[in-house]
């Protein structure tokens, strides 16, 4: 009996070591490049030409200052533009998707099923396909170089709608809506004051996701934004690629990239808890 137990405990220990080793290796794969980016952002151009190292250099603040004041690539301007687009998209996407999901979930009307199926079908069409028409439309009406043109389409977000719909189905009893109607509130007040607060966790998650997606979006902004003062961060980063490397201060380039991903990192670090909560919510009825 004792022997058996001993063998089992050794097996368990070995297994644990193995599992942790794999997890650590995966973490290393994920994080190493970020680490390298931060290291490189702290080194001078000369140091960078000599190859890579794991020890940070002392040029971090200098690179930061250079990157921030660069005249050809106005990264502060880009970050403001990106923030406007990302925040606007996040708010529009979540609010209007929640509103649509609420409408389809709560009201009974003819063609309700068709409306639902149609929205889900739109989900299957890739952005790249519909972008052709959208870009043409935008140019025809002279709407290129306007930031709101990038925000407006986010109102229609089928995937977010689907998520919201599932969430409503799991968490909102119709009795609550009816109670609110009888309490004397109009349909909009019911949505804004009763339903939205109940949907808070779902909205938080989708806001994070759509913020990050809009921040990182390159495709549409690249097609629509040509004026340098309207450009968003991903376009600026892309410009770096076409530049002549030999003339460029690489420390500054790494600093650009670091600034570009900074908001995304901040969002994940501070909100990871609610992201996980939101991903799992709805699976267990509580």
């Amino acid at each position: 009996m004792n022997r058996k137990n001993k063998i089992a405990s050794i097996q368990l220990a070995v297994l644990r070591v193995l599992v942790y080793a794999i997890i650590i290796f995966l973490c290393f794969l994920c994080l190493f490049f970020f680490y390298l980016l931060i290291i490189n952002a702290s080194r001078t151009n000369n140091q960078l030409q000599r190859g890579f190292t794991l020890i940070p250099g002392g040029n971090f603040l200098r690179n930061f200052k250079n990157a921030f004041t660069d005249s050809s690539i106005q990264i502060p301007r880009g970050m403001v533009n990106s923030f406007i687009v990302a925040a606007g998209s996040a708010v529009c996407t979540t609010y209007f998707s929640a509103l649509t999901a609420y409408g389809i979930y709560v009201y009974n009307f003819k063609l309700k099923k068709l409306a639902y199926t149609f929205i889900i079908a739109v989900m299957m069409i890739p952005t790249q396909v519909s972008a052709v028409g959208f870009v043409q439309l935008a140019y025809k009406y002279g709407l290129n170089n306007k930031l709101w043109v990038l925000i407006a389409p986010s109102i229609a977000a089928p995937a977010v709608f689907f998520y919201m719909y599932q969430y409503l189905k799991a968490t909102l009893p119709l009795d609550i809506v009816e109670a609110s109607r009888i309490d004397g509130s109009s349909e909009f007040v019911t949505f804004n004051r009763i339903v939205l607060p109940i949907m808070k966790p779902a909205i938080a998650v989708q806001m994070i996701f759509s913020f990050v997606a809009a921040w990182n979006n390159y495709f549409l902004p690249a097609l629509l934004l040509t004026k340098s003062e309207k450009k968003t961060v991903p376009i600026m980063i892309a410009q770096l690629r076409s530049a002549d490397y030999s003339k460029f201060d690489m420390g500054k380039v790494y600093m650009f990239i670091l600034l570009a991903i900074l908001p995304v990192i901040v969002v994940y670090v501070f909100l990871s808890k609610s992201i996980i909560k939101g991903v799992t919510s709805g699976s267990v009825k509580g």
Partner: protein
């Protein structure tokens, strides 16, 4: 504080195509327009009256309530509250309040905010809202929970909050949809008594839906018994219990259920008697008088006797006891009489034990209810 009048109210649900094909089984009438959930509902509810709609599930009682609330459209007929036609008025403008079976409290608001919500929407001044909420909270004894969220309350407390939310704005009509059915038995009894007290205090018209006939009997000023969308009987608890309109009402109201027998009604001049096999019981004068008024002739009938009116004695019908349930002050005997199940209630006589296997059952002439064998209506009342 209002009268409610329903005139020929009908609710028809359009039938889904797939249900049409499958010929889905339903007790409800199906017309070309769809399934008729409520048929020709007529009632005048007086001011401050406590009306209870009772019936088995699917009888249309909740639908009727929801039509009064405005949550369901009225297909045909008219609904008046305080003399005003309400058919097309939105729920928020009807000045009614409703208590839901699931309580339907707003989960993200505290008890106070839940109760204040309707007043806030009306833009009442803050101090008035506070006064009214605290007043209602005192009536229901929930003042100490005012800053808790519904999650942190027990079922009984949530129920009180739901009632509080309804009474706080002094509605014209208070609607309750099976408010006690989510509570455990003990709490339900307690809340039932409190609802009666509440009705006395707030003095408002109440329409109450339940499937529990005990609740209906104890709470209602008048009871509306429904089945398959049709009103079976409207009356005070006494009327419904003592003079059930048909076999359905007789069987539905009262526990254990009334025992039914197939027998003969014999008329001799102005006297009537009921014969079951060789056992003949003369009906009381009052009953005979009502039967005579309706010109009821001798015929085969279904007659009913309540379990507590069957007497175990020396003579009468032979029955064989199968099971005896000890209920405390009395025992329920489940017996077979000519192959049919019969329930008899016998009082508990303490230490005295008698052999209760083969018994003889008799009944008095004033306790027999005679129903038509064809459609089950009470022959004393007429159609």
């Amino acid at each position: 504080m209002a009268e409610v009048r329903l005139k020929d109210v009908v609710k028809i649900y359009p039938q889904l195509e797939k249900d049409k094909k499958n010929k889905k089984k339903t007790n409800l009438e199906v017309t070309e327009k769809g399934v008729v959930a409520v048929q020709q509902f007529n009632i005048d509810i007086k001011d401050k009256e406590f009306i209870v709609l009772v019936g088995p599930s699917g009888c249309g009682k909740s639908t009727t309530l929801r039509m009064i609330a405005g949550l369901e459209e009225i297909t045909e007929g008219e609904l008046y509250i305080d003399g005003e036609l309400m058919n097309a008025v939105a729920p928020k403008d009807r000045d009614i309040a409703m208590v839901f079976q699931s309580y339907a409290l707003y989960p993200h608001m505290t008890v106070y905010e839940n109760m204040a919500y309707s007043l806030k929407i009306k833009h009442l001044p803050k101090d008035e809202i506070r006064r009214k909420v605290e007043e209602a909270a005192d009536i229901l004894d929930i003042r100490k929970y005012l800053d808790r969220k519904p999650k942190a309350l027990s079922g009984g407390q949530r129920q009180r909050v739901a009632i509080g939310r309804a009474i706080v704005r002094n509605p014209k009509v208070l609607l309750m949809d099976e408010p006690l059915s989510n509570l455990d038995a003990k709490l339900r009894n307690q809340m039932r008594a409190e609802l009666l007290k509440l009705q006395n205090r707030i003095q408002t018209t109440i329409v109450y839906v339940t499937h529990d006939q005990v609740e209906a009997m104890t709470l209602g000023d008048r009871i509306v018994v429904m089945k398959d969308g049709y009103i079976q009987q409207i009356g005070t608890p006494q009327e419904v219990f003592n003079h059930p309109a048909n076999t359905f009402v007789a069987g539905f109201i009262g526990t254990p259920q009334m025992n039914f027998f197939e027998g003969e009604l014999v008329r001799e001049g102005d006297t009537y008697s009921v014969r079951y096999k060789d056992y003949v019981v003369k009906l009381s004068d009052n009953k005979a008088k009502r039967l005579a008024e309706n010109n009821v002739e001798s015929q085969s009938v279904t007659f009913g006797v309540r379990p507590d009116q069957l007497v175990v004695g020396e003579e009468g019908l032979n029955a064989e006891v199968e099971v005896s349930e000890m209920m405390g002050t009395s025992s329920h005997l489940h017996a077979k009489l000519d192959g049919k199940d019969v329930v008899v209630i016998v009082p508990n006589k303490g230490d005295e034990t008698t052999d209760m296997t083969n018994i003889k059952l008799s009944y008095a002439g004033n306790m027999v209810h005679v129903f038509s064998k064809e459609d089950g209506h009470n022959l004393e009342i007429g159609k």
